[in-house]
Amino acid sequence: MIRLLARSLFGPPLTEQPPAADDAAGREIAAALQRASRRHLGRSLAIRHVDAGSCNGCELEIHALGNPYYDLERYGLRFVASPRHADLLLATGPVTHNMAEALHRTYTAMPGPKWVVAAGSCALDGGCFAGSYAVLGGVAALLPVDLHVAGCPPAPLDLLRGLLAVMERPKKPMRREIA
């Protein structure tokens, strides 16, 4: 262990420069969002992830955000265990009928203001699973989606750009709560 720690201490860091917030993602947000972010959140965003039917490819890449190269927590982004602590719902997968209730309940358990980011091709419109008897559709079929991150699965940098874009938009009024 000493050897490993010493190498980490004296070696160069693995962590890489942050990416620029994605312009396209930023535009999508500007159009879709008329509400708060930075003013309310400062530079802290608590994320609750829900797999609503994914093949687990997206989860692997979301996991990768925590590795030393991307080190997501340095941006104030962190994954939380409870929806009660979350500002943002990160949903993956086509929404299956069997997961629809759990996804919806997670969303309603989150306090406002809150955002929904749909990650991956399936979360956009059901992807290659659209049309199945078991699939409701994309996340937008159930929840108001603020941002889509494209990709199958989206690479960690794409996810990071999308999440940063949510944080970089200043001064949005508080979202009216959905009953």
Partner: protein, 504 residues
Amino acid sequence: MSPLGKLLSDTRPVTRHAPWPRVLAGDATWHAAIGEFCAGRLVLLGLWGERQAVHMALLDEAHSEIAVLTRECQSGTYPSVALHHAPAARLERAIRDLFGLEALGAPDRRRWLDHGAWPLSRPLAVPPTAEIGRQDYAFLAAEGEGLHQIPVGPVHAGIIEPGHFRFNVNGETVVRLEARLGYVHKGIEGLMAGADLARGALLAGRVSGDSTVAYSIAYARAVEAALSAAVPERAHWLRALCAELERIANHLGDIGAICNDASFALMQAHCSALREDVLRAAAACFGHRLMQGSVIPGGMATDIATDGVALLRRLRAEIAARLPDLAELYDTTTSLQDRTVGTGILSPALARAFAAGGFVGRASGRGFDARRAIAYAPYDRLSFEVPVLDAGDVDARVWLRFREVEQSLSLIAQLLDGLPGGPSRAGLPAGEAPAEGMALVESFRGDVLAWLRIGADGRIARCHLRDPSWFQWPLLEAAIEGNIVADFPLCNKSFNCSYSGHDL
């Protein structure tokens, strides 16, 4: 004569089913097969339905022989396998939910994949029936003074897939765990029916994202077997290269995550960085971090990048240089060992009875590895060991992953050294239709079974993909018994069963 040979001696195989025989079975053969499972001479490899038939794949481990028994069920019923052989239970429940075929005498008649939320019931039967709606799910009971239940999921605290775990506990000790799955059922087998071969490959690669390469190989090999298609040698070698990269990436991720579940973040930091190195190399070589879509029927979608071989040599050397330090870190951290040694023990007898594949089986003494037993190309030309341990605890499943990463590194070296030239893709012959093909491919998690029938129109008539998790999930429930609730994440991660692969 081998047990399988004896079983099939009075039967006639159907035509155009490759590479192993499929026979129509009467009641006698069906029951004889169940008897062989119970006696431990044959292994249940899969059980899946069609509109009016049930197929059962059998493996004779000692002789590495495989066959499929088909029981026609015009009346919509067939004799239950699970009545005598428990590993079939959830497969029978899934068949009933999807096709409406009843297993006569089945010990468990609860629905499994169908949670009452679909717009229709028995969606793959003809015709489907109206949905009967939500019903309470009767979890198996545990009774006694002081017992209470802890319901967990489907939404969990971490970034993982959804499933429900119902713990019955006495204080801190788990008395009984029952999992309820099916939350991520996407209806893949329904989408497969009528799809063309390219769309089939796309879907097969998304059954379980972490095993996309293994699934793509299994699907491609089944298609190639059905069409008697020849695949260039180079494609086989490149496929194996992708498969071993996938195995290393997943094992590294698992080792880190298991240790992290014991709050030992240092291992997670190192392993996740190494895993990232593997994924970046995969993206540079094959154009996708998880190598999704790299393997297609007929060969590879794209050949390895021009500088790919050199890149992978450097990656291999890097991991080989750093792995011993990580193994030593694991081995010498007593606080970590305190959590893993003796935790979540899976008995060799259960692993054998359920034919558990992958690290779950091999950490409990079952040495089956499809790369060795079936020896599909190019593994018949490569030299490697199949590590087997028999402690069956979390610790053994961690060590097995270390040992398998070492073997995969050795395989990658051999693959890079011996990579044949020539094309990496061949066109698929039209083939005679209908035709059926089958394959068994070793994913990082265990053996993936692919079976398909190509119809007269050249499209997929039926495709079944059986994840290794089907035979591992029930064992997790056995392994956790008598452990404390706080050790469940460790046990669960050390099994790392696929939710999506199981739910389909």
